[in-house]
Amino acid sequence: MKKNIWINLGFQAGAFLLALLITTLILIFAGAPPLKAYGSILSGAFGSQKNLIAVLISWSPLLLTTAGVLITFAAGLWNIGIEGQMTLGAIFATWGLRLFQDTNVSPALIIAIGLLFGMAGGALWAALAGALKTFGGVNEIFGGLGLNFVATALTIYLVFGPWKRPGVGSMSGTKPFDEKLWLSTLPGTALSPWGIGLSILAVIVVFILLRGTYFGLKLKAVGKNMRSAFMLGVPTWQYSMFAFLLCGAFAGLAGAIQVEAVYHRLLPNISNGYGFLGLLVAMLINYQAIWVIPIAFFFAALNVGSIQLQIVHKMDSSFAGVLQDLLVLLILLGQGARERLLKKA
C-alpha cells in the first residue's frame, strides 16, 4: 500500500516534468528563451504585492467553479455548461443591483441580494442543462456548450442593448455601479475578503458533503452506476438535478463576485474561462476536494504570471493555457500508464 503511494507520486512527478519539457520545447519552437519565459511568469505572479493580489483575485472564482464541478463530477456529469452558469450569475447579480440601486434599501442588503441573485441565475442555467438531459435526452456536454454560447450572446445583447451605458454601448461593459454597491475590498485593490472567504467556504462545504455525508455517498453512487443506485432506492434524476443546481449556484456566485468586487459592472466574456479551468483543476486533482485550494492557487498564478509573458516577451498569454492543458493531459495519461504497469507487475 505504502509502495503504491510512492509509485503514484513518482508517476505524477514524471507527468509534471514531461509537461514542463514539452512546454519548454514549445517555447523554443516559438523562439522564446525558456528560462527567461518561466522567470517572467514567476515574477509576474509573485514579483510584487500587486501581482500576488491579482493571483488571489483570480483564485477566488476558480475555487468556486472547481468546487462546483466536483459535485457534478461526483454525480457522473460533465458540466461543461459551467462557463454559461457563471455568466448568468454575473447577469443576474447585475440585474439585482440595478433593481434596487435607486431604492432606499441599505447598500449592504443590496450587495447580499446581488450575490443571491447571482446564485439563482447560475442555478437556473444549470437547471436548464439538467432538464435538457433528464427530460430531453440531450447530453449535458452539448446542452451545456450551447447554453454557454447563448449566455455570452445574452451578455453582449444586454451590454449593447437595454443595459448600455449612457451614450453608446461598448465592449467595456455597462456603466459601473455606485461605489457604495461594491463588495468591500482591501484598500486600493479589487481583492475582496468576502469573496475569498465565500470561495473557501464553498470548497469546505463540498469537501464535507462528499467525504462525510450520506447524501454525498448516494450522489457518488448515482455517478458510479445510475442503474444500481436506482435499484437501491436512490431517486437518481433528482440527485443529478441537485448536483446541477448546486454547481450552478457556486458558478453563479463566482460570476456575482466578479461583478460586485472585481469589475463593478457587467462586461462581455465575464466568465473568462474560469469554468473550463475549474474542470481542468478537478481532473488534475483526480476529483479529490482536499487538493482544490493549493492547485487552484497554482493555476491562478500561472494565469496571472503569463500576462507578464505577454508584456515582456510579446508572447500570447494563452501560454498559461497550454501549460495547464498539457499538465492535465499528461497526468491523465500517466494515470493510465501507471494502472497498466501495476496490473502487469
Binding site: 514549445i26 519552437f29 516559438a30 460533465w78 461543461i80 435538457l132 427530460f135 430531453g136 435526452g137 440531450v138 447530453n139 456536454i141 452539448f142 446542452g143 456548450l145 450551447g146 447554453l147 454560447f149 447563448v150 455570452t152 450572446a153 453582449i156 445583447y157 449593447f160 442593448g161 473550463f276 474542470l279 481542468l280 481532473m283 510579446k314 508572447m315 500570447d316 494563452s318 501560454f319 493555457g321 497550454v322 492543458d325 498539457l326 492535465v328 493531459l329 491523465l332 495519461l333 494515470q335 493510465g336 500508464a337 494502472e339 497498466r340
Partner: protein, 331 residues
Amino acid sequence: MDNVILIGLAGVLAAAAPVLFAVVGETITERAGVINLSLNGTILLSAMSGFAAAYKTQSLLVGFLVGMLVGAIVAFVVAFGSIALRQSQVAIGFVLALTARDLAYFLGVPYMNVPGPTLPGLPLPLLKDIPVLGTLFFRQNAITYLSFLLILAAWIWLFRTRPGLMLQGVGERPAAAFVRGANVNRLRYLYTIIGGAIAGLAGPAYTLSIKPGWMGTQTGLDGVGWIALAITIFGGWNPWRGALGAYLFALLQWLGLVLQPNLPNIPSQVLQVAPFPLMILTLLLVNVGDAEWVQRWLASMPDKTRRLAVKALRAMRASPPAALGTTFERD
C-alpha cells in the same frame, strides 16, 4: 435576382465544406466506437498550422497536408489515451480540445493578419455551363469538390464494402467482430486517426479558402468543432444525413448574414450564436422520443395521432453505435 440567390446557395455549399469534413471524419471515428471530443481544438490548430505551412512554403497542398497531419496526431493521442491507457475518452478529448486551441493561439501569433495563399476557383469545363446545377455545383474550388466526393466515398465505404461492415461491427459489437477475426483495437486506432485526418482538413479549408488568413482569437472558428460534434449526432452517424446537417447549418449562417441589415436592433454577435440554440433544439428532437414522459404522453394519445407522432419521432431519432465510448478487452 435568381442568379443572386443561386450564387448565394453555391456559397453555402462551399461554406459547409469545412463542417462537412469535420462531421464525416467524426462519423467514421464514432462508427468505430471512439468519441473524438477534441474536434474544436483540432479545427483551430489545423487551421493555424495549415495556414502557416502554406504561407511558408507557398504551397496550398502542403497546407492541407499539414492540417491532416495535425488532425491525425491529435486523434492518435485520443486513441492512445483511451485504448492503450484506458482513460475516459471524454476526459482526454475535452482536455485535447483545450490544448489544441491554446496551442493554436499561442503558436499562431507570428502568422496573424499576414496575407497568405488562397485556393483559386476551379470551374469544371462543360459542366459549369449546365443551367442552375452548373452554378451551384461546378463552379467551386478543389476542396469543395473534395467535400462532395467525400460524402459519397464515406457512405460507400461504411455501408457497401466488407471492411466497412467490419468497421461498423467494431463500433456496435466489438466482441462479435473480434470473433470474426477483426483486430478491434487496431481498427479503432486506424479509424480514429483517419477520421482525425479528415477532420484536419476542416481548418485549412477555412484559413486557405472560406475565411482566408489567421487572425488569432478573431478568426471566428472557435465553436465550429462543437457544432460539428452535434451535427454528427443529428446525422445519425450517416454521412448523408450528416452532410444535410452541415448544409442546413451553413444555410442558417448565410441567412443570418443576409437578414442582418433588416434587424438593426440585434447586435451581430447575437445572430452569430443562433446556431447554438438550434443545435440544442435539434439534439432535443433527435433524442426526446426515448424519454419516459414522451412515451407516457404518446400512450395517452388517440391511436391515429399516436401513429403519426411515433412515425415523426422515429424519422428524427438516431441511435449511436452500441459500443461508442467503451473500451474493448479481448478476454
